[in-house]
Symmetry: C2
Subunit: 309 residues, 2 copies
């Protein structure tokens, strides 16, 4: 019998049940079987504890439950020649667009300010701007960045998109490379990162980059916590350079109770919920990838370890 391991610290049984339906010819494991066991060609990987990959023999491919795979690339238990498949799921992109637009529109239309005014029974209309009065820069033009950019353009925001390769998206201004980055963020009112976490993007959002934004800018991070230098972000908020930040991801998750982000009046903390993996759709995609691989067809969305995503 063919075997598949679900290596997740979450709820592997819920996924296992789905895979038993979609891959009835497979034995579905939720525990690493040990190196002396029968081979396990496919591993569906969330963020398992250490030792799991080392205790799984005969891995032919790893299918990530997340769009971000930096923890798998960095895992020394995974042989360098084992292909890793990113989760590129329409549903991740849908959820991400909703969340990013919710945060940007709520900031843009002062919903937080009106909530604060309501708390003190204050009726004070603010000067409302239209989307076309704001510039939004999106870092990343991939499966997640593109739909966000498209929604922003439809609302009428001046939209800039920065990517490694300078990918063009209708209605937005495209930028690329390190020089392009400075231009892409110069004077922007909103900065959103949808980049993968790589050696290049770690600490990318630092004091120098934040300093280029417009005064009173807003930063949105639903990507990876380590892309932002925490202390630089807090300094920019405290100086008044930034008016706020919506953060869904953090260097350590759950965000430690003593982290200053929790109590900062200009920071909105949410618990990594911008683009949750939807089990049904993830299982459908992975099943399809496995069937293709069985037939000798290439795996889709293969991770490029050099690029880091």
């Amino acid at each position: 019998m063919k075997r598949l391991l679900i290596a997740s610290s979450g709820n592997p049984e819920a996924l296992a049940e789905r895979f038993r339906a979609t891959l009835p010819d497979y034995e579905i494991l939720t525990q690493a079987p040990g190196q002396d066991a029968e081979p396990v060609p496919y591993v569906v990987a969330g963020k398992p504890g250490s030792g799991v990959f080392a205790a799984t023999p005969g891995i032919k491919a790893i299918l990530s439950l997340n769009a971000g795979v930096e923890h798998l690339i960095a895992n020394p238990e995974i042989a360098a020649d084992v292909p890793i498949v990113r989760l590129v799921d329409q549903e991740l992109a849908l959820g991400m667009s909703e969340w990013v637009l919710a945060e940007i529109l709520a900031w843009h239309r002062n919903l937080g300010a009106y909530q604060a005014a309501q708390a003190i029974t204050e009726w004070t209309p603010l000067k409302e701007k239209l989307a076309r009065d704001r510039t939004v820069t999106v870092l990343g033009a991939g499966a997640l960045g593109r739909p966000v950019v498209e929604h922003l353009v439809r609302f009428g925001f001046h939209t800039r998109v920065w990517s490694r390769t300078g990918r063009e998206i209708d209605g937005a201004t495209a930028f690329s490379g390190q020089d392009g980055l400075a231009d892409a963020v110069e004077g922007a009112d909103v900065l959103v990162t949808l980049l993968p976490l790589t050696a290049e993007t770690e600490n990318l959002i630092n004091a120098a980059l934040l300093g280029r934004l417009a005064d009173g800018a807003f930063v949105v991070n639903p990507a990876r916590g380590a892309q932002i230098v925490d202390d630089d972000l807090i300094a920019a908020l405290d100086s008044g350079k930034l008016s706020g930040a919506a953060l869904d991801v953090f260097r350590t998750e759950p965000l430690p109770a003593d982290h200053p982000f929790w109590r900062h009046p200009k920071i909105l903390v949410s618990p990594h919920v911008a683009a949750p993996t939807h089990a049904d759709s993830a299982v459908t995609q992975m099943t399809e990838a496995i069937r293709r691989h069985e037939r000798g067809d290439p795996l889709p969305h293969l991770v490029n370890r050099d690029a880091g995503y």
Copy 2:
């Protein structure tokens, strides 16, 4: 010299300055001149105090500064044969779409719940739904309703649109008439009204209609306060039938300090800011309407007093 009166309790001078540039052949008044003065063919009307229209002779047309004109239709000082022009301004529609989508997306993605969790340092991801798991009903398919419906459809919400005439909008299900209304709201997760205030729409959103919504539904009113029965809304929130309401308009504005909406934990109050009139664009439109009318061409966006808008 031709004469134009700006009848607004707001800041008539700011508008007057713009009209002096766009209509240099006109004398621009900001005070009613009295019945014995020279005629004033055009009146640009916000919500002036009583007596203003009675003290203005020779009115040939009234140009509303607002999309809603129920206060002008009901004003006994305005002769029944004086045409009233609604403000149908692309910018009103843009602002409205931004605000409505901001409120719906923020509710849909639990931003308020996460803010409450942050206040007590609690990291608890909720089960996030996608737009396609929600049904949104929009009342009104006109200049304001249509773009809101189009954005909702693009996000993937199941979108229903109800109007007097059953106007169709791509991707949404259209309903019309009194019977259609019950079907349009049945089981909806979000109800948005973008209707004008008329005899038919006053108190439209009452206990019976709210009772048809899905349990835990959300109500959004950026149209007119009198469309909602205040006590019925509060009862539906208190019973748990509704999970929340975002209200931008009220029967009395500013909302009186002792009104229970201010302190209701499930109500978001904002001070009539969803779709502010943008002076430049309004003056451009009105100047064009006046020039057309001078040439003998019909006025655009004429109010139908029988329909009430």
